[in-house]
Amino acid sequence: MNNKKNNLTQAITDGHLPRRDFLKLAGMVGVAGAALSFGFPLNAWAQEGTPKSGGVLRLGLAGGSTSDSLDPGSWSDTFTFVGFSAVYNSLVEIGVDGTATPELAESWEASPDARIWTFKLRQGVQFHNGKTLAAEDVVASIEHHLGEQSTSAAKTVLGDVLAVKAQGEDSVVFELRSGNADFPYVMADYHLVIMPSKDGLADWRAGSGTGGYRIKSFEPGVRMALERNPGYWKPGRAHFDSAELIGISDGAARINALITGEVDVINKVDLKTINLLKLNPNMVIEETKGAQHYTFPMLCDSKEFGDNNIRMAMKHAIDREAMLGSVLRGYGSVGNDHPLQPGHRFLNTTLEQRTYDPDKARFYLRKAGMESLNVRLQASDAAYSGAVDASVLFKEQARAAGINIDVAREPADGFFSNVWNKQPFTTSFWYSSLTADRMFSIGYAKGASWNETHWEHERFNELLNSARGELNEPLRREMYNEMQQLCRDEGGALIPLFANSVAARSKRIAHGPETAPYGELDGLRLIERWWQA
């Protein structure tokens, strides 16, 4: 099977694989992937010594709120993401190599137009409440996010799903509106966990999953106590006997808790004091290369930014390197005005990095018939910590190009309901973009509700639709390359920075040689992946 996979890779790279063969093989890769993922941990961990069982993992996490709930549709920040990733499984898991790996689905298969996807379920998996996983549970769990009644944050992610049906006891069939070659990645979304069904509905109130840990207690925003599920189906995972998540919203309190040994791992390390933390020999800084990026969206349908020359002037008036140093203290990388992060499998490597060039900015201004430009930037730290600072920096940098930015500080409270996506020029961020299609579809497609630049580009939207169902990877790559260029040279998003997620752990805790590239804390799954040193 490994051979077949290699053949497939080869065929794809060469670019002459008939579609039907690809799909037949692709279905098998799912199976091969399953075998690989079980083989993998032993091989990889052999280098660092075998993981030890037992002990407690204590996490001090930012991003918990008293309004957190067991309802997966409401999960919106790290505390719930990390905690519930240990309690539940999804159909698909993102492996440490960043690819879609089978989890509760044993394998999957697509129709030739990538519109019908069939997931074959793993057998004999039990929920914490004793129920055995069946197709009806998967259907109910996905339908939980669909329909008119849905209040789920994942509803847009599943926007393409027309229907989800059980096929026998052990298979689930998804029917999509149009083909989507990345659909397995969609199923790895952290909201799409599999819950037991009760009377045809997903029973989220039970707090019962198939994951490595059971919920012992959950006090929203304060703590979550987990204990190991002795019957966990996934071998080589869930080493700690128990885990405790503590919500610590204050940055200094998190660092104090780590230093004084109250917790073993913290997230969102305050970059202002990170150098002091580095001096401590018992601590290790954990950096996850970021898909998270910061944007200054300019509304393309506003009178200020309707002219692309103005947008190009703005894009040349920002000193990205300086901003990386001062806003992120170097913990990130510079953006190139399109949303794919460095290292993304579809990154257009031929695009030149845009640099700070006040003369060029002036050139574009003159092309728009202006000598100088006055704009108002409505900034808030609701977008990311440091957004207001970044805006003020931008103001200083843009002055050299004859652009006067008036930075208006907006309250964080209600920023995303009242200012963002309504005012011509604001601050914003994106948490992650698992696939190029998803990122472009939700943030840049015509009519998408989060199209924060109101950009409508005919060619771009055409490419987006054809790339989505395109199973021929080289062709797809070509399309994504062009789309990145269009974003960069005609889009409304000024994307100066990609931010790394910075966490810290005590040396009492260890992990494998690699951690997942998406999402902080080993793809949010440190509770089942890490162990006691």
């Binding site: 001090g60 709120s65 008293t66 309004s67 957190d68 709930s69 067991l70 309802d71 409401s74 919106s76 008119e148 009644q149 849905s150 209040t151 789920s152 944050a153 509803k155 847009t156 207690s217 006090e219 929203p220 925003g221 304060v222 703590r223 106590a225 503590i246 919500g247 610590i248 919203s249 204050d250 200094a252 309190a253 104090n256 808790a257 230093i259 004084t260 109250e262 409270d413 209600g414 995303f416 309901s417 009242n418 963002w420 914003s428 509700s449 989060w450």
Partner: protein
């Protein structure tokens, strides 16, 4: 005499209920005035028109505000606080545990700070203008001048990071033993005490100094009565009214104003719950917390007035 106090109590409680009603109306209107509603706040950047509409319909937010208020107050009068809009949990449950934590912390801080403040105030009055008095005043004023979080961080740096005597965070497990609760509360209690002692101490000192200069105290001195007896028997009872008022004010502060300390020490109290609920526009929870805070003020102020009257013979036995 007892009658007049009872009458006062009844009056005060009736007025208190009226102010609680006013508070609930104001809070309801104020949260309504804030931009956005719970549907938008919960979904945040992930809000779409469809999901927001579905959210509102499910929570009954599409009904007119007056209807919602009447419904809420109707349930409230029957003792039903309702459920949190954000996570459907029973508010009585949500608030109950947190209220317990807040009251525990406030009670411990009060037990430390009130006697200490009174004692120091008396000593300062007795030895007024001495180096002791000056040192005490200077340090109390400095402590109260620093922002709470700064005092808290300094205490954490010394006692938990450097010395390692106490934990830096005060998160309490639901099944924590009393010893553990005590150990984890030392630093927050110390922080709060440092913040509230100054005002109470200075009021005690000022009220006593005023009295110690009066002729009847001089008479007592001339009769050769001991210092302690002069203070406790003759001076303090007459100085009680202003002191009790300041103490009540500070006790109320210990219950309602400690959110900064809660955040720094990760202490799960009511303040954090209120802040989170306002941010999410979770009106029933905001209402419940606000009413608790308002009731604290009403009760403590009434208590202070009653004590002030009871300690003043002229008010206790009014002429005609």
């Amino acid at each position: 005499m007892v009658k007049s106090i009872l009458l006062l109590l009844v009056q005060r409680l009736a007025l208190g209920l009226l102010s609680l009603f006013a508070v609930s109306v104001i809070i309801f209107l104020a949260v309504g005035l804030l931009p956005g509603d719970i549907a938008q706040a919960m979904l945040g950047q992930a809000a779409t028109d469809e999901t927001v509409a579905a959210f509102r319909a499910q929570l009954g937010l599409d009904q007119p505000p007056l209807m919602r208020f009447m419904q809420w107050i109707g349930n409230f009068l029957q003792g039903d606080l309702g459920v949190s809009l954000a996570n459907q949990r029973e508010i009585s449950e949500l608030v109950g545990a947190r209220l317990g934590n807040t009251l525990t912390l406030a009670a411990m801080a009060a037990l430390v700070s009130v006697p200490l403040a009174l004692l120091l105030g008396m000593l300062a009055a007795l030895y007024r203008n001495s180096w002791f008095d000056r040192a005490l005043n200077t340090s109390a004023l400095s402590a109260v001048s620093f922002p709470e979080f700064f005092v808290a961080y300094i205490l954490i740096m010394i006692f938990s990071v450097k010395l390692g005597w106490f934990p830096s965070i005060s998160n309490l497990a639901p099944d924590a033993s009393f010893a553990e609760v005590f150990e984890r509360s030392v630093l927050p209690v110390a922080t709060l005490s440092l913040v509230v002692i100054a005002q109470m101490m200075r009021m005690t000192r000022a009220a006593l100094i005023n009295l110690l200069a009066s002729p009847y105290i001089e008479m007592a001195r001339l009769k050769g009565i001991s210092q302690a007896r002069i203070i406790f028997r003759h001076a303090l009872p007459n100085a009680l009214a202003p002191i009790v008022n300041v103490v009540a004010l500070n006790l109320a502060y210990l219950v309602v104003g400690v959110v900064v300390v809660e955040v720094v020490f990760v202490y799960p109290g009511l303040g954090q719950l209120l802040v989170d609920s306002v941010a999410k526009r979770d009106i029933p929870v905001v209402q419940a917390c606000s009413l608790i805070f308002a009731a604290t003020y009403v009760v403590l102020n009434t208590l202070a007035d009653v004590l002030a009257i009871a300690s003043n013979p002229r008010l206790m036995h009014p002429k005609g």
